[in-house]
Amino acid sequence: MTTEVSTETVTVAIDGHEVQVAKGTSILEAARQVGIDIPTLCHHPDLPDAGVCRMCVVEVDGQRNLQASCAFPLTQATEVTTHSPRIHQARRDVLDLMLSEHYGECRTCVRNGNCELQDLAAEYGCDYVRFGHKTEATSCLDNLGPSIVRDMDKCIQCLRCVRTCAELQGIGALGVLGRGDKTEVGTYLDIALSQVNCINCGQCINRCPTGALTAVDNTDQVWAAIKDPTKHVVIQTAPAPRAGIGEEFGQEPGTPMTWQMNTALRRVGFDKVFDTNFTADLTIIEEGTELLLRLYKNLVLSDSSQPVPQFTSCSPGWIKYIEHQYPEYLANLSTCKSPQQMFGALIKTWYAKENDIDPSDIVSVSLMPCTAKKFETTRPEMTDSGFADVDYALTTRELAKMIREYGIDLPDMPKSDFDDPFGTASGSGVIFGATGGVMEAALRTVVELVLGIKVEDLFAHADIVPVRGFEGAKYVEVTIPDKVGPVPAILAHLVPDWDWLKGATLKVAVVHGTANAEKVMEDIKAGGKFSECHFIEFMACPGGCLGGGGQPIPTNADIRQARAKAIYGEDAAYGEEGRARKSHENPAVLRLYEEFLTEGPCGHTSHHLLHTDYTNRGTFIAASTKKES
């Protein structure tokens, strides 16, 4: 994301290499096009440029001072020098000044080995602290929340987090306060991040060049549980980490590690390895049923107590966002818990009973691409099993650390399947990890349940391509033919027939990133196109879960694209291997309804364990929760 680029071009010479670029292209971008790397700490490909770190300074012909290459748009033919003694000295000065203000031990920092400041300090030969070194902390560590830790002593004021929060995500929980040498990155009135309008998405963590913003680390608690012989430690793994964790082990982005990871998890000491996609499939049944019921109530019974469009509820960042910004629309949210929480509730009830294990001895861990999932586990309503439904949500980065601690090189692991009784879920569960995945999975199931035909008859290979891709907000119409099927047995007690859907146009939308969510919500408020939708998938993070705040660092559009490719590739492979690709074909889900959720989807037990309600949080920030110093 750089300055506006026109169709006119200019030719510039960068270190003697001639390059033709669109007028308005930044020097930094032009240099990268010819393979010249200019160091930066504040530039990020997902964000508008700020030009604040001054690491990317270059010499431009005709300019007396060094220029920040990220913020210098090329408008005429010129010559640029990216490396010279003067430039080197300037960059070294910037680094030395940053290091003098940077308090904290590299050795114990979670970003040790993956820190942009550390890397540049090494690259520019910073071998002593020329301007001294801060010897004590001057900022209060904000570790009061369940998801994000803020250590401003490690902040270099590149403002990536501020731009991420305000512009990429449209939240504005972090801002720039004060001026000059008193400038600080902070929250409103320095209130703990968990007490302001932060949605815990963790996108700031993924873009922070240092260890100033990190995720809460739960690995110590999980190791303690694993080492405790009285505990039965199970882990459920979400689809997105499988597409990302390879990056932590030197693999190219988009190298799936699903089956190797199962083996590694058992070696690390987890007693059972479960597939969160099982409850993704279950979510589709519950949420799809809820959607059909909502439509039936609104369209046939004229009962608008549960309004349409129905919004998805899988993304805990999105949930907190709507609770803060649009609480008047909470009734539109599906009451379904997220797959993580559904699984948590089932593990400590059905699974515990089936296997004769005292649920208080079960430690239920989840592997998520997400920092908001940590917050979700702490929501007071997530205790329907009688216990904390999920004890610890680990990020992809935390699990990679645990696997490394055990001396395991993940890509070398033999492959193995998920454990029973939940088994390996359907391809529809897998695609939950990408934006559009929940919608595609829901459509595959709803189409088959309503029309009584195979989804392949409408979409080749059951790939519902219109809902895929990284466009910020996608709007898709699906016309239901005049011929509908009989109501399947599993739903027979809820609706008499599908005749009322004959010839109807099902309008759906897919939205990812909360800045896009804001646009769609405003459109709905104004009675625009999206207000006519029946079902909208919202994901808080750009790209959906695969771009989550718990995924490996760094992130950019290419990396997210590669992870998406891995996810859709896995779904396709399920088809080739004869595994289920549709949620309602998952045999373990069908068994669950036969044996445990016997009142069917949206029935009494489902409602008790798998559905939830929401909190009107609003935008008011209460100063009484000011951080203790």
């Binding site: 504005g172 306060l177 935008t619």
Partner: protein, 169 residues
């Protein structure tokens, strides 16, 4: 829409009315942020937590951004000040022309140091960096009024004048 806890409701109602009226003058866009904050500062001698949240809500900018703007400009600032703020220039020209004696007269007259506010809440003393009045050094700002060629004697008169204004209120 911002909703506040019941104990803040009366203050919220008054502030909302006032800020909505200000926005009628300054517009509803984010470019109204600075003029609104200037008006609030001048009227209340502070920019309170609740005022910042109401402004944020009305202009649809994050509260932290309102605080960011308020704390960036030294003539704004969120902390309460006295009804009258005297900014004495401390840069080179003024210093050479006798700003030190003026400063001493001010602290003596008001009984406070620079950066402090009198107990009655009437006066705050602050340093300013160059205010562009080097030709009339030593110079100061008393609220919005620029004062030049200051002497310790003039300081007494100025303070007395401001006090009289306060008494009339």
């Amino acid at each position: 829409m911002l909703t506040v806890p019941p104990q803040l409701a009366p203050e919220f109602k008054t502030l909302s009315k006032e800020i909505d009226a200000l926005l009628k003058t300054h517009g509803q866009g984010r470019d109204a942020l600075i003029p609104v904050l200037q008006d609030l500062k001048e009227r209340h001698h502070e920019i309170s937590d609740l005022a910042m949240q109401v402004v944020a809500d009305r202009l649809r900018v994050p509260a932290v951004e309102v605080q960011g703007v308020a704390t960036f400009y030294s003539y704004l600032g969120t902390a309460p000040t006295g009804c009258h703020v005297i900014h004495l220039c401390r840069t080179l020209s003024c210093d050479m022309a006798g700003a030190k004696a003026v400063a001493e007269a001010l602290t003596k007259e008001l009984g406070i140091e620079f950066g402090e506010t009198t107990k009655d809440g009437q006066f705050t003393l602050k340093w300013a960096n160059c205010i562009g009045m080097c030709d009339q050094a030593p110079a100061a700002l008393a609220d919005r009024e620029a004062l030049g060629s200051l002497t310790p004697k003039l300081v007494k008169e100025i303070v007395a004048g401001l006090r009289a204004k306060a008494d009339k209120k």
